[in-house]
Assembly symmetry: C2
Homo-oligomer: 369 residues x 2
């Protein structure tokens, strides 16, 4: 082979909106020998993985599977399995990923209503509560950690709002899971999905997903088949459950990676992991403010793992990111949509959320500005 | 950590219908440092990967991307992007994967007609030619290597049949690509998808896919949006093309693996790779026949990489597979559908298609029978 591009990959400190830094044990897990997707030993790993997923989601749901795709495949899987054409859905939007939910649901023929909240501010539960009074919604959907703005939405409060019996509650936990508390059962969440490449510190490629018994009943009482064979959970559960019916070939090595990533989190202790995220977040905010920068989100609503800060006027934000990448081997993210060109998004996710990285980043930013 | 299941994974000789054995270089590629999905160096790897994919598919199509899911996601992506409700489709069926095509297309609201051919025999082009005369089909779909039976369908001949101008030709190359000739452009194929876990010798998780200019035009002139946001190729091409618009986070490390796997194939030489598959296939068939076993498929229609053989009467086929796995660390596959319990499926795919493995398997089978 002449030149192999993989030989020259640099080790980059990934402090953007994801993917995040991956621990060596997870890389080693990805490289373990591939087993058949119906091999008895592999089935044991799958069973253990389901237990670990339930544990990090704080759920006793039977239906817990890693969807064979990235976080957005988890979003697609939730909507396509739970909605039928004409179903009324209420989507709460305060960033890119809420807007994506509207788009996904609309394409499936649902009647989507939205409530828009300003980007950089959280969803306001009392307003949602009023809205829920008029509508016979079949589904209420919100993003927990809005990766585009750095806002933590009050998903527990929203879940506690009175709503019609048959209105399911769907939460996007792509960015939050593994970096802050997610209590699926206690918060009344019926459908939840995440991604591996944020606080779980595994490369992108899987979307851990769980359905409550109510959501599973909705799936099982559909009028028509799920209009997406690949993501049809009514069949996928027969592979991940006792029947072991072949559906599609599972992404075996990625599943090793997720298993290892979850093992690492529980070995450290989930509360210690969350505390580490909070400590690094506080350190980062202090450092940014010392540099004279202003945070986008008000203090009570900030995500610890995704920090948004305004780029000072007169500074070329993209040029700063390029210099951080080339001169300091650090990746951070820029803004999306209305925030493009105006903010930076600084990730402190999973394995990468350590004081040392915060210090390295702040020095690099100071040198660059 | 108490016990880590990954530490006890045995190295299994994967000679089933896939996943197949993975070379060490590909495992190492999976474990290279994760880069951001918009990182300039990663974009270089993506561009090179597109070139390698076109080369193995023998196409000059602009649209060539690895879908972020397994082979079945490639099938779903082709149908959901090319079909709209009410479109007439002709699906040629002689095994599980043809039947899956019917199911996928039906769920999308297409009017699906099928031609059934006996399992274990190939599709007969002359009969298809007659059928194509009556129908104004928008799509004709067939599986190249039918993994459930071991039959190679005559996709070149089917592609050459006269058909209406606006009838696109879709081919499943999941099992064939990388193990035998696939000439997308010369055979008039408009849409083709594969999977990484067969003759490409990469773990499962990606579906290389390409659309001809005609298929791309069909996509771009749809009446409605693609009813699957995650697999919407009209947006995915903007990430894989010049615009680099973020769609979903690419499965970075799996893409490293596919890049490496294709590099290995072209370093050996594609003609030599095909010849190696044919040699091993001939050696295996001879050995099986010496053991008194009977092949399922007639000689001219056999796939070199997926060999089907009848289990002798009175032998418990599942018990043989279990003993091969536990006593010899070899995985082979059983039959599906009407062939369940009656046949074995023996894979000689990619990296695993070497004389040594054929010998090891035949000795083990001899000892077991």
């Amino acid at each position: 082979m002449e030149r192999n591009l993989l030989d020259n990959i640099e080790e980059i400190l990934l402090m953007g909106p994801g993917p995040s830094c991956v621990p060596p044990e997870v890389y080693r897990a990805l490289a373990r020998p591939t087993l058949g997707h119906l091999d008895a030993y592999f089935l044991t790993i799958m069973d253990e993985l389901k237990i670990l997923m339930r544990r990090i989601m704080n759920t006793e749901n039977d239906l817990a599977v890693p969807v064979s795709g990235t976080g957005s495949a988890g979003m697609e899987a939730c909507f396509v399995n739970l909605l039928e054409p004409g179903d009324r859905v209420l989507v709460l939007i305060n960033g890119v990923f809420g807007a994506r939910m509207r788009e996904v649901a609309s394409r499936l023929g649902a009647e989507v209503e939205v409530m828009d909240f300003p980007w950089g501010t959280p969803v306001i539960p009392s307003l949602v509560g009023e809205k829920l009074q008029d509508g016979d919604y079949r589904l209420l959907a919100v993003v927990h950690g809005e990766t585009s703005t750095g806002v933590a939405n009050p998903v527990a409060e929203i879940g506690a709002l009175p709503r019609q019996d048959d209105c399911l509650y769907l939460v996007d936990a792509v960015t939050s899971l593994g970096g802050m508390e997610v209590k699926m059962d206690a918060w009344g969440i019926d459908a939840l999905y995440s991604g591996t490449q944020k606080c779980l510190s595994c490369p992108p490629g899987l979307a851990p997903l769980s359905f409550s018994p109510r959501a599973t009943a909705r799936l099982n009482s559909r009028r028509g088949k799920v209009p997406n064979w690949y993501l049809d959970l009514s069949m996928i559960v027969d592979y991940w459950g006792k029947k072991r019916v072949y559906h599609h070939t599972a992404p075996v090595n990625m599943l090793y990676g997720l298993y290892q990533a979850l093992e690492i989190i529980f070995a450290e202790g989930i509360e210690e992991v969350f505390a580490r995220h909070r400590r690094c977040h506080a350190l980062l905010v202090r450092g940014l403010e010392e540099l004279g920068l202003r945070m986008v989100v008000d203090e009570p609503f900030r995500l610890p793992m995704l920090n948004t800060v305004y780029c000072p006027t007169g500074v070329d934000e993209a040029a700063v990111r390029r210099r951080l990448r080339t001169e300091h081997r650090i990746e951070i993210g820029g803004g999306l949509g209305p925030l493009a060109g105006k903010i930076w998004r600084i990730g402190l996710m999973g394995h990468g959320a350590v004081e040392e990285n915060v210090g390295r980043f702040l020095s690099a930013l100071r040198a660059t500005l």
